[in-house]
């Protein structure tokens, strides 16, 4: 043994160590992927019980329509969120205009509005006797053509307004770290700012934009509430029809499998198209960090107007509509229990945010350090699929195996210790709920962390090692400060997502863990939309406070 060890040059020894460490990380990645793949296994298992009659029916009468609808919705939402998120992200990150700092945070707020709430508020605003038409009648006379937000247009509109913050947040981070340097390069080569934006800034931000748009896409694909409000049938509609209408949970799982497959294809296609190019940013070097573009004249007010109108449409208007609905019911519905609902929501969201962010970080590192590297990339892809599941299907996909595992453990305990052995109850505990959150939201935490981790170059690692920092010290003193923005982004995204999450919480929550979101369900399940406005507003309000606090802190550091 010694002889071979002696024969190794230091480089060989280091390479060996790295390889061994890489295998360890690959194992971590695979383990994480296995946990998050539990619902996928349930889906795969479901294909052993194919109901051919039902599938025949679906294929003829339902799938062609919903597949086309889903495609249009996906294209619309991806285009819409990319347009709004990229444009606003760039404006806020690179340009200087009145109220920029306010909008930099305010434009994130629509994220806290659940899609179905946004949709309902929009329908309320554009209803025949709603405020918009009353206004139109004032200006255009009583025979103004009734116009209604509905169908595809309504779905894309509402989903874009609640989902663009995913793209915005990641795009803003990407553009912030690019600074104005990319524009200056273009300008020094004779390209206008506009052309520089399209040929330099945008391509450089591509991994971030793609990650944001993918999150928006997966959320849109998994959405059921918003499409239901606009009565637009998508793939999830077919899933719930098979399950709730025809009592076939197997078919629902199988349909989800098809949906997941589509997402996998999109992800692979995007990565293929991206090729092997590197997207590290242009370093903005030295003391003369490029300053933001200071917009002048009418341009600056145009920027304020753009940001302002999105903020108004996506947040102010729906908030006002919700307040108008909630006010009359305040006396009847608002009571001390709301403190409990809010606390439950906060506790769940906070624990889940911490947990999922930690797992996301772990996954990001596993992806980065895995040897062979291809294995790392594959695990990352698989481990983040949970986000594409419709919530209820995911809940079943987690709950059923956990219950089975509990049974298994109990059988084992009984075998080992006899009937007197204690019983483990996993279902109906926070453990199961948090597990489901982790599986569902890992993608949300992983995206910003993985893209931020790309910023840490090999040479930076080596420089830190050279100064004697390794392992946890390296993580704490070098990586975490650099990853700070990514960690915050991940935590905030997960926090807000859990705050507004409904189907998983609804099915898996333990007794007494009613949240603001389940409160919304209590009202909407019997069609009492106006009474649902109060808990919906509470979600927005309670969810926003930490978001604003956290973000204003990052803003200050970046200013």
């Amino acid at each position: 043994m010694n002889a071979t060890a002696d024969a190794l040059t230091p480089q060989q020894a280091r390479a060996r160590r790295r390889q061994a460490g890489g295998r360890g990380w690959a194992l971590v990645g695979v383990l994480l992927a296995l946990i998050t793949l539990v619902p996928v296994f349930v889906v795969i298992g479901s294909f052993f019980q194919l109901d051919s009659e039902l599938w025949g029916h679906l294929r003829t009468h339902l799938l062609p329509q919903v597949a086309a609808n889903t495609l249009w919705m996906s294209l619309g939402v991806v285009a819409g969120t990319l347009l709004l998120g990229t444009g606003l992200g760039w404006l806020v990150a690179v340009c200087e205009f009145p109220l920029r700092r306010f909008f930099s945070i305010a434009l994130l707020l629509p994220m806290a509005v659940p899609g179905y709430v946004m949709a309902t508020a929009m329908v309320g605003i554009t209803e025949f006797d709603g405020p918009l038409h009353q206004l139109l009648r004032v200006f255009l006379g009583s025979d103004a053509r009734p116009w209604r937000l509905s169908g595809l247009g309504g779905v894309v509109f509402a989903l874009t307004l609640v989902l663009y913050p995913y793209v915005y947040l990641l795009a803003r981070n990407a553009f912030l770290s690019q600074g104005a340097r990319s524009l200056e390069v273009g300008q020094s080569l004779g390209a206008s700012r506009l052309r520089s934006f399209f040929t330099i800034s945008l391509p450089l931000a591509r991994p971030w934009l793609a990650a944001g748009a993918l999150l928006a896409l997966m959320e849109a694909l998994a959405d059921f509430g918003t499409v239901a409000v606009f009565n637009y049938d998508t793939f999830t509609t077919a899933i719930y029809r098979a399950w709730y209408g025809m009592f076939s949970v197997q078919s629902a799982l199988q349909l989800s499998g098809v949906l997941i497959l589509a997402v996998i294809i999109v992800v692979i296609a995007e990565q293929r198209l991206r090729g092997s190019r590197l997207y590290t940013s242009l370093q903005a070097g030295g003391a003369h960090d490029p300053r933001p573009i200071v917009l002048r004249g009418s341009l600056r007010w145009l920027a304020t107007l753009c940001a302002g109108s999105v903020f108004m449409l996506a947040f102010l208007l729906p908030a006002i509509q919700l307040i108008a609905w909630a006010a009359p019911n305040l006396a009847r519905d608002f009571d001390a229990r709301y403190i409990g609902f809010a606390r439950n929501s906060l506790v769940l969201a906070a624990i889940a945010a911490g947990l999922v962010t930690a797992l996301g970080l772990l996954l990001a590192y596993a992806t980065r350090l895995s040897r062979p590297a291809a294995l790392g990339r594959i695990t990352a892809r698989w481990a983040t699929l949970g986000y594409a599941f419709p919530g209820t299907v995911l809940a079943v996909g987690v709950f059923v195996p956990v219950a089975a595992a509990g049974d298994g453990i109990n059988h084992l305990l009984a075998l080992l210790f006899g009937e007197q052995a204690g019983r483990v109850v996993l279902t109906g505990t926070l453990f199961t709920l948090l597990l489901a959150y982790c599986i569902r939201f890992l993608a949300v935490a992983h995206s910003p962390l993985a893209s931020q981790l790309q910023r840490i170059t090999q040479s930076l690692d080596e420089a830190a090692r050279g100064m004697g920092e390794t392992g946890l010290g390296l993580l704490r003193r070098v990586h975490l400060p650099i990853l700070r923005r990514g960690l915050l982004t991940a935590g905030v995204l997960v926090f807000v997502d859990v705050m507004k999450e409904l189907p998983v919480t609804l099915m898996i929550r333990p007794f007494g863990w009613d949240t603001l979101a389940t409160r919304v369900f209590q009202m909407t399940a019997e069609g009492e939309w106006e009474r649902a406005a109060l808990p919906a507003l509470a979600i927005v309000a309670v969810g926003l406070i930490p978001v604003i606090l956290l973000l204003s802190q990052t803003e200050r550091r970046n200013a």
């Binding site: 029916h57 009468h61 339902l62 025949f128 509905s150 169908g151 239901a228 409000v229 606009f230 009565n231 049938d233 509609t237 719930y240 029809r241 709730y244 209408g245 025809m246 009592f247 076939s248 949970v249 624990i351 947990l355 930690a358 970080l361 772990l362 209820t392 079943v396 709950f399 059923v400 219950a403 089975a404 509990g406 049974d407 109990n410 019983r423 109850v425 996993l426 279902t427 109906g428 505990t429 926070l430 453990f431 948090l434 946890l472 189907p503 609804l506 099915m507 929550r509 007794f511 007494g512 009613d514 389940t518 369900f521 209590q522 009202m523 399940a525 019997e526 069609g527 009492e528 939309w529």
Partner: protein, 341 residues
């Protein structure tokens, strides 16, 4: 550091939040798809009367049933409470409910409103009926669900989406009464008569009728009750269809579904749960249960809410609601074929 904290945290949660609370007083556990504000007052009344507490969670029917099934023998649930018969039928089909023998229940609940095998029992009646705009429709021209498929209603009918179980069980009833081919004809007739794309919920159907976008619609009566309680001058009236057949004999009756309950197969406190269901059919509980939501009590001896009573009396469908669950999948497929979204 992280590696150590994570499992520790998970273990702490696991240990800290394990099984259902079990205080000194007796408690039963209810899984309910009937929402909190429609059950909690009743639960409180029961606890006041008997000292037995109730833990419950609310969620959609199918996830609840799935949860019950997955939990199997470990399930803490004693009672499954739903807002339609179809899901109760499905739960019984999956062997998740236990049959009860109770003279009290058999005597208080009409036979069509409970499972023939005794797995579950209707607790309140939800009628799905016709709504019309009195300024544009003469109620004499209204007759039955089937008649709404006739050409005279072309462009005048509003329907809620077929995604909702209420419409699925209505069509299931039509299949039960007429067979699939005729039922499909009727549904196609409805679709042809639609004034506007199908609407997402019953409220919007009522609003559409009141606002003049259409003249007739099909809704659950309690939605109308809720709206009318807020806006007494609402331009819409209920009509009870299928009261008289063409030959003058008694008609097939108004379509009814039930909100009902069954005791779970593995209920740890089955006897107590049965007592609770029996109590729910007592006049006082019935009045509260139905009255909370302008529904009709299943117990025919119980007085109606004044607003509900003002809609008059009617004869209801004699099809056993269990048959609706059985036919539901077929009904959904039929609506798909007929283009009823």
């Amino acid at each position: 550091m992280r590696h150590a904290v994570l499992p520790a945290l998970l273990l702490a949660l696991l240990a800290g939040c394990a099984p259902a609370p079990d205080d000194n007083g007796e408690r039963i556990v209810v899984y309910s798809s009937r929402v909190e504000q429609l059950i909690q007052p009743i639960f409180e009344a029961w606890t006041r009367e008997t000292g037995v507490g109730i833990d419950f969670i609310t969620a959609d029917d199918q996830p609840l049933i799935q949860r019950l099934q997955a939990e199997g023998a470990s399930s803490p649930a004693d009672l499954l409470l739903t807002v339609d018969a179809g899901n109760l039928w499905n739960a019984a089909e999956r062997g998740l409910l236990r049959p009860l023998e109770s003279e009290i229940l058999d005597s208080r609940i009409p036979a069509t409103l409970r499972d023939p095998a005794g797995h579950w029992f209707g607790l309140s009646i939800r009628t799905r009926t016709i709504i019309y705009a009195p300024d544009r429709v003469d109620p004499a021209t209204l007759d039955s669900y089937e008649a709404l498929a006739e050409p005279q209603w072309r462009g005048r009918l509003c329907l809620r989406t077929s995604k909702k179980v209420y419409n699925q069980s209505l069509v299931a009833m039509l299949i039960e009464q007429h067979g699939e081919p005729r039922a499909e004809e009727i549904v196609r007739g409805w679709v042809a008569n639609l004034a506007t794309d199908v609407l997402p919920n019953d409220n919007q159907v009522i609003e559409a009728v009141a606002a003049g976008r259409c003249d007739v619609g099909i809704v659950n009566s309690y939605y109308f009750g809720r709206l009318v309680a807020q806006r007494p001058d609402l331009n819409a009236r209920l009509f009870w269809p299928n009261q008289q057949a063409a030959d003058g004999t008694r008609g097939s009756g108004v379509h009814v579904n039930v909100s009902g309950a069954g005791v779970t197969r593995h209920a740890p406190r089955a006897a107590l749960a049965q007592q609770f269901i029996e109590w729910l059919t007592s006049p006082a509980a019935q009045e509260l249960f139905a009255g909370l939501n302008y529904e009709y009590p299943v117990n025919p001896d119980v007085p109606l809410d004044p607003l509900v009573a003002s809609w008059g009396t009617f004869s209801q469908s004699q099809v056993n609601v269990a048959r609706l669950g059985e036919r539901q999948a077929a009904a959904v497929m039929l609506m798909d074929r007929a283009g009823y979204r």
